[in-house]
Subunit: 398 residues, 2 copies
Amino acid sequence: MKKLNVLIFVLLILMELSASAQQALFGGQEIKSPEINADNSVTFRFNAPDAKLVVVTGDFLPTEKITTPMGEMDGPGKAALSKDDKGIWTFTSEPLGSELYGYSFIVDGLSTTDPNNPFLNRDVASVTNIFIVGGGKADLYKVNDIPHGTVSKRWYDSPGLKMDRRMTIYTPPGYETSKEKYPVLYLLHGAGGDEEAWMNLGRASQILDNLIAQGKVKPMIVVMPNGNVSQDAAPGEGSDGFYKPQFMAPQTMDGTYEANFMDIVKFVESNYRVKTDKADRAIAGLSMGGFHSFHISRYYPNTFDYVGLFSAALMPREDATGKVYNDIDGTLKKQMENGYKLYWIGIGKTDFLYDANKEFRQKLDGMGMKYSYTETEGGHIWRNWRVYLSEFTPLLFK
Amino acid sequence: MKKLNVLIFVLLILMELSASAQQALFGGQEIKSPEINADNSVTFRFNAPDAKLVVVTGDFLPTEKITTPMGEMDGPGKAALSKDDKGIWTFTSEPLGSELYGYSFIVDGLSTTDPNNPFLNRDVASVTNIFIVGGGKADLYKVNDIPHGTVSKRWYDSPGLKMDRRMTIYTPPGYETSKEKYPVLYLLHGAGGDEEAWMNLGRASQILDNLIAQGKVKPMIVVMPNGNVSQDAAPGEGSDGFYKPQFMAPQTMDGTYEANFMDIVKFVESNYRVKTDKADRAIAGLSMGGFHSFHISRYYPNTFDYVGLFSAALMPREDATGKVYNDIDGTLKKQMENGYKLYWIGIGKTDFLYDANKEFRQKLDGMGMKYSYTETEGGHIWRNWRVYLSEFTPLLFK
């Protein structure tokens, strides 16, 4: 096809596309935002000739105190952009450390995403743009030119919950063609999350691909189920259709999920080429998923040799009624007596669950139950959970 | 956990969440948008007390003429919202026919997505909200409570292109546990698309799940490769990282993809439990993917018994230089002589490719090559391609 023909084809297709695509072609200059500069500063641009104030807000800026009915708390930082004579607003950050960052704009008080950046992450019901600054730990979050595992969305039958449910499964590079059996990590999301969260917000497949390619992590299958037993799948992916996700789905922490978790293990062990002994099973989760991992691993006290509690929601809950919560101390003691290879606890210094985790560690100390402990900067944020996954997985199945 | 404990947990987590999540809790009332009413009218809501004008624009509204450097053309319709005394803007549409619709807002001239609807589709570099009105053909686009196939993102090696590339593969319900071999549909995207397009914009897995459950479509594997040979994967999913997608990637229509297509077929046929004869292979695509399907099916003239050209970009191109484009008439004649079961052409009455498709049909008529022809309302839009997929797949492998 001649170049001219291609151009005509493009123009004709744009005739039938959205207004924004037409603006991209006919509305003047092409804007690049965000632009990661050579020194790892990042330039944000926004086209709004008539706006009075354009602000960028995100976790790449120092936090700011905000006032709420619950008192003063940390909010994401903000920075004002400057307008040039063409109506393009610009802000360039300080050089940034290697990280996956999230941001959005506020234009005359209105929150909006960046129309020049189609890469978005949904966290509960909020959608923000993302970008990655490489050259450090966030290189693990990038897709590099290395062998890649397969990521599947698959439905399994849960006899206990009497429903078909959706899960995400990562199989490592070579799984399909090898005859080998693999160990399995069950990786659980937090409140407001679902079977998409560890992939999208947690960059789990990129972290696994990269660490396996570096020889630091043993090839393993990673199973990411949906911990909200009232859903068959993530919002928009299940039979409830499209609806605005809520932070806490019903029945997420009442014991139902934990009591039926073996439906997931049985499905995986009868449908994938996996090793089925305790030494080849790990379970880990963040926040509510840490709560689930704690309860599942002691409720089935001879099932997992590796347990990871990432900023776990270890709240006092002596009053819980589900049968899962009976005899916590007894099952924990049983788990200790049965033995395990790693009980890993990680939390950020400013996490609101810091004290609950400290109490929990004191409890473990008191009963002589061994654990490995990692304390990081920061709070209850995905930034920490990606790091915890990157630190936890190299310790598994060795 | 007591309800009070759960509430505290939620509040504490929100302390560490984004500003928008905090607004959702502390900023007052919860807004539902869009809301599909009992009569299938749809109500849109937007919170902007200080805005002067809030407009919704989308394909659920009658098109409007817009003026561009290329002359007058159809643009998406627009409707103004009305503000109530709390600063909430509202618009309710007419009752809508069953369809998957896209929309966004324009607030005082600024395009923005709906902060109360986290369901978004990316088309090239544009992101818009979506919703589904059921009760008709769009019920096929919903996730219903029926058996579901597995959707995998898998990387394959292309020796011809000397790269690992990503594809999407749909395997039908029961594939993993059956011993049966399945037929394969290769389903190709258009310019600006990638291996994500048929799933996200085309609702391919929902359409297949639903039609298979209804007994209208034979269980089949659907392979959705990436037709841009300069990419290893969709924007953001490959080693090029995050960048603003362009409408036409380099080398998309120069013959390279078509000439190396058998790398994909060989990978699928050696990695999946599939039937490997012509009677069990179909190829179809939209726009540029229709162009690819046309050329691949005649370049390998004894390979596919089923060919689908959906709004195919059958542009005059006698000057093309790639070896794929040599002797088009001869290979087409060969394909006709070898025989096939279905050559399916579909196009919208107002598609800018209507005349090119008409000329192509005249050419086929002239040489006595049989085809099936479907003409629909509308133009070069996903709305038609979802319908074509729903009509084409029941005809396959019978």
